[in-house]
């Protein structure tokens, strides 16, 4: 269907042997790194400047934390499961990271609509590096939001094991990378802003509710159990919760492996989709 494929790699390699006005050409390796860096920095600047976005994306996790945490707290304790805030906080942290990460994909649609994407697409840099810079930027933003919520849960009475924090940070980062790449993947295929939240609601909300973020995933009915096990978010929640309060179903190795693999699969597919965007 007249699909145009951009910039296959062999062509670029071949082009290295061409001479060009030295003023036009900087150091290639430096150029790649700095392109990724400047696009990463752009995401961060946009995040810091958009205070509304920062607060708005904190509202939902906090609502869940307080409504569920204090609402179900006594029932949870009576069922002999201990403190619900302890159990819930890691799930809420995972939720924040996931939502912020996926929503960073919307910026690609935004840039498509407001034209900035074209500026990056006519630049003499590979699309993979453009996508990578943006994705790492989105990942960093989601990660920071997760840290902010972690600090807020401390105020709500969450008492994590400090020794587990570094490991939890690793899981938060992998989770952020995975869902940012996932958001990029979806956004590269969409053209209008309206459809993005719809897809998020049909894909991401179920992932959240069926992940063990809100309830323990032991002793579930079979079908439910299969869904929970097939949900990558379950492994992120499990890893973060395991690191912070020592309560986990899977091994850390399995949690990390699954997140790592799926993050890279999404990154790869996202890059392929991004390369095919037509301006």
């Amino acid at each position: 269907m007249g699909q145009v494929v951009f910039l296959s790699f062999p062509r670029r390699r071949e082009s290295r042997y061409l001479k060009l006005d030295s003023r036009l050409r900087g150091n290639d390796k430096y150029n790649k790194m700095s392109t990724i860096y400047i696009l990463w920095l752009r995401q961060l600047k946009r995040y810091v400047r958009s205070k509304q976005r920062m607060f708005a994306s904190l509202a939902q996790p906090l609502l869940f934390l307080f409504a569920f945490g204090f609402g179900f707290g006594s029932t949870f304790a009576k069922a002999g499961e201990g403190s619900y805030i302890q159990f819930l906080a890691p799930g809420i942290i995972a939720m924040t990271v996931m939502f912020t990460a996926v929503f960073s994909g919307i910026e690609i649609i935004w840039d498509k609509q407001f034209g900035f994407l074209k500026e990056t697409l006519v630049a003499p840099v590979s699309r993979f590096n453009i996508m990578l810079g943006r994705t790492l930027g989105g990942t960093t933003v989601a990660f920071i939001q997760g840290i902010i919520v972690l600090l807020i849960t401390l105020l709500a009475g969450f008492k994590p094991a400090l020794s587990g924090v570094p490991l939890a940070i690793v899981f938060m980062f992998l989770l952020a990378l995975f869902f940012t790449a996932f958001g990029t993947m979806i956004a590269s295929k969409l053209d209008d802003m309206q459809s993005f939240p719809l897809i998020i609601n049909f894909l991401v909300m179920p992932l959240f509710f069926l992940s063990g973020a809100l309830f323990p995933i032991v002793g579930l009915p079979t079908v439910f159990n299969i869904i929970v096990h097939a949900n990558p978010l379950s492994y992120a929640v499990d890893g973060i919760r395991g690191a912070l309060i020592g309560q986990h179903v899977f091994s850390f190795g399995l949690d990390a492996l699954i997140l790592f693999v799926i993050a890279f699969v999404c990154l790869y597919i996202g890059a392929e989709f991004f390369k095919r965007i037509q301006a």
Partner: protein, 262 residues
């Protein structure tokens, strides 16, 4: 020397042929106007020239580089001001310039003075730290022109650069583009719907209609061959008087964006 060389370039979208076998060339240092009614294939042609669309067949060579075989070299060779704004409104003018410089691998020691020079040229240096969302349409356009020139391109593409600008800004803009054209030998390739603008500024003109180049030459030649008093009359003579349909959704969106000054 021909800085732009287009040979038998065709672009099809499914069954629809947007650009049909066009051949033309632009000399180094020329001011070249690419004219045509709405939907004639102007923007598709520009997209092929600027590596955003790959031609279905034919070749496009820019500054000696085939745009399909050597896209990065071709990209280094041109600057572009798109029909629609393409600046990041959440960043400052300076940050937009800096991002461009980094992507085009201009070393910091070169781009710092260059950014100042260009922003002064377009009278935006004192606003360099303002967010672009606070800029007027004309200021954004000026910023885009400065940005397009930042990496010392050989060719500057301007896709309807003066649409929606007041006569003062328009006049100002053309005076510094022509200045660069004369001083640095910059080749300018532009599209416009204002025929008097093309008449006044272009050394040579090509007219495209329904994906085919129907005429080309100096404005004087076109007027003479059609026995018209103005370029506008010549244009109407060559392309007919009926009004064209714009069919794509993109155009509607473009208009909305324009209307709201984005």
């Amino acid at each position: 020397m021909n800085i732009i060389e287009v040979k038998d370039a065709t672009k099809k979208f499914g069954d629809f042929t947007a650009v049909n076998n066009i051949t033309f060339s632009v000399k180094q240092g020329e001011n070249f106007a690419f004219l045509g009614p709405n939907g004639a294939g102007k923007t598709t042609s520009i997209k092929m020239l600027t590596t955003l669309l790959e031609p279905t067949s034919g070749s496009v060579v820019l500054n000696g580089f085939d745009v399909i075989k050597y896209p990065d070299e071709a990209r280094h060779s041109f600057g572009i001001v798109f029909q629609d704004p393409s600046v990041d409104t959440e960043m400052t003018a300076y940050e937009n310039m800096e991002l461009h410089a980094v992507m085009y691998a201009v070393p910091k020691s070169v781009y710092k003075p260059r950014i100042q020079e260009l922003l002064e040229l377009v009278d935006l240096w004192d606003r360099k730290d303002s967010l672009v969302k606070d800029f007027s349409g004309g200021m954004k356009r000026r910023l885009e022109i400065a940005r397009g020139l930042l990496h010392h391109p050989k060719v500057l593409f301007l896709d309807e650069p003066t649409l929606g600008l007041d006569p003062q800004t328009r006049n100002h803009m053309w005076s510094y583009i022509k200045n660069l054209n004369q001083k640095e030998g910059l080749t300018v390739f532009f599209t416009t719907h204002y025929m008097e603008e093309a008449d006044k500024n272009a050394d040579r003109v090509a007219i495209i209609d329904q994906g085919v180049i129907v005429a080309s030459g100096t404005p004087a030649e076109l007027k003479e061959s059609t026995k018209s008093a103005t370029l506008e009359d010549a244009f109407l003579e060559l392309t007919g008087k009926h009004i064209r349909e714009e069919s794509t959704g993109m155009d509607a969106k473009r208009l909305t964006n324009r209307m709201w000054g984005r």
